[in-house]
């Protein structure tokens, strides 16, 4: 039943993306200044928000793990971090493609770009730390602590870089700017794609959690077999 629900949600997410792509590519007009390339924005901002949601979820789950020592929180934390890392990579890559077209360069050491890259590296460190610790309970404990540190560091880096230097376009959403700087149809589309990405992330995290649970079951069976033999 649970699997059916997960794959059903997956199919729904896929259909949602098809519908969004149809609107993005065929219905929305070109942007006044940038032309057609602005469409990549729908695959730039939503994955970023979704990745931040994943990292926040992982940090909360890590805190809960430390409090309760319940394995399921550790399973959730590692799954959400992995999915978040993939989404953050999408955000970086689409940003670079857009930058190449608009700025003529793939990368610039701008505040937002730098903090996005730092975030990515910090969470890469999280996965490397997990790889390196053999004992499951020590791995869960240490990576939970790292995840909490990482979220603070990411927020701090984001803020520190904001004071530093920026070439990245400023916020466009009405909730951030307080005025109508964005076409309502385009803003609606952004939220639709955010919905699609969030749903996709939920599905991927659920699938990854299944995988992690199976992996742990195999590991404990192997350990038991080793103990008998």
């Amino acid at each position: 039943m649970r699997d059916k629900l997960i794959y059903g949600a997956g199919i729904f997410a896929a259909l949602y993306f098809v519908r969004n792509l149809y609107v993005i590519l065929l219905q929305l007009p070109d942007e006044a200044m940038q032309g057609a390339v602005y469409r990549i924005f729908f695959f730039h901002l939503p994955p970023y928000f979704t990745a931040v949601a994943c990292f926040l979820g992982a940090a909360i789950a890590s805190g809960l793990y430390l409090k309760t020592k319940n394995w399921k929180y550790d399973v959730f934390a590692v799954s959400a971090t992995e999915v978040g890392l993939a989404l953050a990579a999408i955000n970086l890559v689409t940003g670079m493609i857009w930058g190449r077209q608009q700025w003529g360069i793939w990368w610039t050491w701008d505040a937002r770009l730098t903090s996005a890259l730092i975030t990515w590296l910090i969470y890469l460190g999280y996965l490397m730390l997990r790889e390196g610790i053999k004992d499951p309970s020590e791995r869960a404990k240490n990576s939970a602590v790292l995840s909490i540190f990482a979220f603070f560091a990411v927020y701090f880096t984001y803020k520190a870089n904001e004071w530093y230097r920026t070439q990245h376009p400023g916020p466009v959403l009405t909730i951030r700017t307080g005025k109508n700087t964005i076409d309502p149809a385009m803003q609606a589309m952004l939220f639709h794609n955010l919905g699609a990405f969030l749903l996709l992330a939920v599905v991927l995290v659920a699938v990854r959690m299944n995988l992690e649970n199976s992996q742990r079951a195999v590991e404990s069976l192997r350990r038991r077999a080793h103990a008998i033999a």
Partner: protein, 226 residues
């Protein structure tokens, strides 16, 4: 024994054992001098560019050589199961953490105290015009390195790739502190006071220290004891 006595007992023990063997200190110091030398090939040593890069250059040296010291912090306790004995001793985890962080801080400060004059001599710079402020800024940034380094030293102490994992984990997290230290050091080495435009970096540095020191103090017990 009060909390402060416990902290200073740990710090004193660490400093004593390090100053007797000098294994991390010697390695770190010679490494720092080698990097200082290498930088003369990166940028023309006589140019004005050097003055604009001085803060970045110095903090790269301190970050690289500091990790050698931070790596030894907890690894020193591994032989003879000293770490287990320390954890079993009747002191709270945070006292152990602060003791080790203070020892690390002092050792990195020694490296810095030697590197600043060497840097001044090798690159013909007068760097003492704003000495008291420079010392304060260096202390803040060094504490940031010491506290994060000690915390992550505790996290990675049982790993095989410990020496590689520690820099991989702490450099990205340290960026706000290092960035502020670089900006301010460049300014101060050039003999200028911290103006209203640069005061924000001092705030970043102080906020970084407060946030991560308290976070580490809260979480270190979990890491050490479980």
């Amino acid at each position: 024994m009060t909390y402060f006595n416990q902290v200073f007992a740990i710090a004193g023990k660490d400093l004593r054992s390090e100053l007797r063997t000098k294994e991390a200190l010697n390695a770190s110091l010679s490494f720092a001098v080698v990097i200082l030398l290498l930088f003369s090939f990166v940028v023309d040593p006589d140019s004005e560019m050097l003055e604009q890069m001085s803060g970045g250059l110095l903090w790269m040296v301190f970050a690289f050589s500091g990790v050698l010291i931070l790596n030894r912090g907890f690894a020193r306790e591994l032989p003879n199961d000293c770490l287990d004995a320390l954890i079993a001793s009747p002191i709270p985890g945070s006292a152990l953490f602060f003791g080790k962080a203070i020892a690390n801080f002092a050792l990195i400060a020694i490296i810095e105290a030697i590197c600043f004059p060497v840097f001044g001599i090798l690159y013909n710079l007068t760097w003492t015009a704003q000495l008291p402020v420079l010392v304060a800024v260096s202390a803040l940034a060094t504490w940031a390195m010491a506290t994060l380094g000690t915390m992550f030293g505790a996290l990675t102490v049982n790993m095989q790739l410990r020496e590689l994992m520690l820099p991989m984990l702490i450099y990205p997290m340290l960026i706000p502190a290092l960035m502020s230290a670089m900006q301010l050091t460049t300014l101060l080495v050039a003999g200028q006071a911290i103006d209203s435009e640069h005061i924000v970096w001092l705030r970043v540095l102080i906020a970084f220290d407060i946030i991560f020191t308290s976070l580490a103090a809260v979480l270190v017990e979990t890491v050490l004891v479980g």
